[in-house]
């Protein structure tokens, strides 16, 4: 676990070059050996959300869509799920949200906010 906590300090979704510009890479190298490190990739993290919220967060069924919702809303919702007092009516998201760090939650909120809510299958990266 400790290994991961260290790496989790690099915000998910930042490309290596941006991370370098921000000086994160330096910190990483100083903190731990370079070997056995894999780059964070927000699409990998976000992949699991699709299994209930639909591909790219566009839900085909009774579960809410998360694509194109305001980042602040997604973030506050996820934080509330993760807290010890989840919003009334919560069934499973409190259990799932606890599995992610605050940084990961922030990156996920940003990721899904950036996806348009309706656009069918237009190409979209990042």
């Amino acid at each position: 676990m400790s290994k991961f906590n260290t790496q989790n300090r690099v915000p998910c979704g930042l490309s290596p070059s941006i991370a370098t510009m921000l000086g994160f890479a330096l910190t990483l190298i100083a903190v731990q050996p370079v070997a056995a490190q894999s780059p964070s990739d927000i699409t990998t993290l976000a992949g699991s959300c699709a299994n209930c919220h639909g591909t790219d967060g566009r839900s085909p069924g009774p579960i809410v869509s998360i694509a194109g919702r305001p980042e602040t809303l997604l973030l506050s919702q996820l934080k509330a799920f993760k807290s010890d007092t989840p919003p009334p009516g919560t069934t499973i998201m409190n259990r799932i949200a606890k599995g992610y760090t605050d940084e990961q939650i922030g990156a996920l909120a940003k990721h899904f906010a950036a996806i348009s809510a309706n656009e069918p299958t237009k190409k979209r990266r990042k």
């Binding site: 676990m1 290994k3 991961f4 790496q7 894999s38 780059p39 964070s40 990739d41 699409t43 990998t44 993290l45 992949g47 699991s48 699709a50 299994n51 209930c52 919220h53 639909g54 591909t55 839900s59 085909p60 069924g61 009774p62 579960i63 009516g89 069934t91 499973i92 259990r95 799932i96 949200a97 606890k98 599995g99 992610y100 299958t121």
Partner: protein, 433 residues
Amino acid sequence: MTSAETKFSRRQALAMLGGVGATAFSFSTPAIAQRSAGRVVVVGGGFGGATAARYLKRGNPNLNVTLLDPARRFYTCPFTNLHFGGLRTFEQQGHGFDDLRRIGVQIVHERANDVDAKGKTVTLSGGRKLPYDRLVLSPGIDFRWGALEGYDQAAAELAPHAWQAGPQTVLLKKQLEAMEDGGLFILVAPDNPFRCPPGPYERASMVAHYLKTRKPKSKLLILDAKDNFSKQGLFQDGWKKFYADIIEWVPRSKDGKVAKVDAKAREVETEFGKKHKAAVLNVVPPQKAGFIAERAGVTNAGGWVPVKPQTFESAQVADVYVVGDATIAAPMPKSGFCANAQGKVAAAAIVASLAGREAPRASWANTCYSLIAPNYGISVAGVYEVADGKIVEIKGGGVSPREASDEFRKLEAEYGVGWYNAITQDTWGSKPA
């Protein structure tokens, strides 16, 4: 980067030995490899394979992706239990491959009969050999015929397993419908590991719902090779509430382990010699990885596939990635959700490796809903990552609360349907049926 270099030099070495075909040769210089996206063959169009194919194309549209499955339409095991309960038609679990075709995946309706991991080809049932740069196997499970005495393929035609969706599902449903009111339905549950840990208990619940509403004098007996099972407390609470007079569960410690099956007589004999005769006998037999995994040399002595957790590449054979039920991925369960999640991780790793990049850090989740009665659902959830070279479950997750309102259970029943709609969209591009 370094792993890509190792691969190229290995290929070059093979080429010098004359062991490599012309196509593979063209990849033997890194400069070309960087421009060429590569060929990926995916075996199995179920939860793991169809997801891997879709996310490979999403990850790099220039990849040449071929998906093999003899089935023209895939029927999911998930929600077949609801079919036994009378809550869904069989066809509602069917999914086609047109949407995968639309995004550029080549679909070949043949079986993979063999894998030559050195020459990097797959032999199809039609005789053709397909070359690959990376291979994905998601063949699901095969049964260990005969491991349970008396239970072989012929026996399954009399006492169905219905643990792969298709003709077996139809057969069991037919037997259930033909059963007289007052009959005994016996479900034989296997020891770990097996496909879908909560599956036998959801099946028992849904069959019991059918019996309660259509054949109320009937009973259901679960003969179990284990002493505990997934979501046990929640299932047993639900059974007490809905099926107290119908379901009886016999754990191994109370002589629940079946040692012998007589499919013709629909009779089973337990470890300690007790005989039970059924009107309908449903046997979930011991399992192993689909046979093609063995052909590819990726299985261990136990018949399952060890993988490198970060990428789901075989721990034994380079460039062969295995996902889904065939793998040893504990603490992740053998579920459709996990097969899908693993398919995405393998796809991302393959896209990266073909581009000479390092695989992104893996992350998976699982949510598994079970329906005990209409409007009464329960769930288990987990989030997983790799730590110290092993897959670990992150703190959190767990099952639905024991004490929950009817409203809560109703929501979980509804979200179960939402999950099914979402994952079948994400895997095959299906619309809710």
